[in-house]
Amino acid sequence: MEPLIKVTVIDRDGTPHELEAPTDMGLNMMELCKSAELPVEGTCGGMAMCASCHLYVESDTDLPERGDAEEDMLDQAFFVESNSRLGCQLHLTQDLDGLVVRLAPVAQ
């Protein structure tokens, strides 16, 4: 079994949550946040089609580039910054160990 990785999710109140996550279950950041009962809707189920898992990457973790579907969805999202990502498109791998993310505000 691969070792668990540690990631930190800062919620919308500014509280950091340190989470341990397995990397051999095909999970992504959206699913990890949901399973930790953090306020992430994941409305579309992970198809990069709703932006309800929009977050900002605050660590200098080396991440895969945004895909086309993710770019397209971020085009329709609000509060988008250069470090914006969709949680559902960040698949948990050993490379993500030490990742720090902040949940983006929810538009009305």
């Binding site: 409305t43 085009d75 538009a107 009305q108």
Partner: protein
């Protein structure tokens, strides 16, 4: 007024399959949906995506699944009220439900089945201060009638097909001035639409503002300008008569939240015996309901619909005994 046996709120896969299962019990159905076409999310969000967990279909496109469900429901002649959002519910003196849409269409039925999925799809509203004050006073989220913009100065925001297509349409002899504002330099959307917008911009018929976002609205009671932020050039002002932000749709639970149903985390609580809600006669099936062990799968919604109509039948005909009949033995006898 539209009278039916089971009034289904939501014409997604679960609502459509309810028509079939109800039809087998000789119950008629009518469906209301806020979207202009049946199919719910499957048609609106991901028609071209394959689904792999429908029994006996190793892979089926979401749009194709909807077509097949429509075909399966057709013998039972369902009625549709499309493009209208179910707004209010009340009970008449015979105990039947009256459901009225936002356009005022009234439906009457002894049973209401809420198959509302994620809720109603509503336009995404950008987080701009005092935006609400300008809604219908220069800010619109949907273009209903392009003639409305004749001779006007229009600002459109967005980078998708609807933003591109409307910019082209309005720039070709309708609006007096068209500005397209987009957060990035690249546009998603069809390549020929993108090219057309770039051509019109080169001819000076569309003002193209990329790397920009509208962040302010101004005007005394009516929109007269917007403020946009350019990534390097900062905040600038642009005079206009209309701003149309086109950022797609997102689902909201909507008016159903006020129907006195027990709701937990945006979902309606049901009894798994028959998927009834706390209001006798109102059921909730599919992605919109919740119960211990709930899985939001189309497959599970079909099961819920099937059990729900049995319970609905017993409410409508308490004196009749219901015997399960197999379609293989009896065939499907439509109306």
């Amino acid at each position: 007024m539209i009278q039916t046996d089971i009034l289904i709120i939501g014409a997604g896969p679960c609502g459509l399959f309810t028509v079939f299962e109800a039809g087998l019990l000789k119950l008629r159905c009518h469906l209301i949906d806020a979207l202009p076409q049946p199919g719910g999310q499957c048609s609106e969000i991901y028609p071209k995506k394959p689904i792999y967990d429908i029994p006996a279909y190793p892979s089926i496109l979401a749009g194709e699944l909807v077509d097949r469900l429509m075909e399966q429901a057709a013998p039972f002649q369902p009625g549709f009220t499309l493009g209208e959002r179910a707004e209010s519910i009340e009970r008449d003196d015979e105990g039947q439900f009256l459901v009225t849409t936002h356009r005022g269409t009234v439906h009457r039925a002894p049973i209401v089945a809420i198959a509302g999925g994620l809720g109603c799809f509503e336009p995404r509203k950008p987080p701009v201060e005092r935006l609400e004050a300008y809604e219908d006073h220069g800010v619109e989220y949907i273009i209903r009638d392009p003639e409305f913009y004749r001779g006007k100065r229009v600002v459109i925001s967005g980078g998708g097909d609807s933003a591109l297509d409307w910019s082209i349409f309005l720039a070709e002899g309708v609006a007096s001035e068209v500005t397209l504002v987009h957060r990035r330099q690249e546009f998603r959307g069809h390549l020929d639409s993108v090219q057309k917008v770039l051509d019109l911009a080169a001819e000076g018929r569309i003002r193209l503002l990329t790397d920009s976002e509208v962040v302010e609205v101004h005007g005394d009671g009516k929109l007269d300008s917007v403020g946009y932020q350019h990534t390097t050039e900062g905040l600038q002002r642009l005079a206009c008569d209309h701003w149309v932000p086109l950022f797609g749709l997102s689902p909201k639970l909507g008016p159903i939240a006020d129907w006195n149903l027990n709701i937990s985390k945006n979902s309606i609580e049901v009894d798994t015996f028959d998927y009834s809600t706390n209001v006798p006669g109102i059921y909730a099936i599919g992605d919109i309901n919740t119960y211990p062990g709930k899985l939001k799968l189309i497959l599970c919604g079909f099961h819920e619909a099937t059990l729900m109509v049995q319970s609905a039948f017993k409410r409508i005909y308490p004196e009749k005994n219901l015997v399960l009949k197999y379609t293989t033995v009896n065939g499907v006898n439509g109306f």
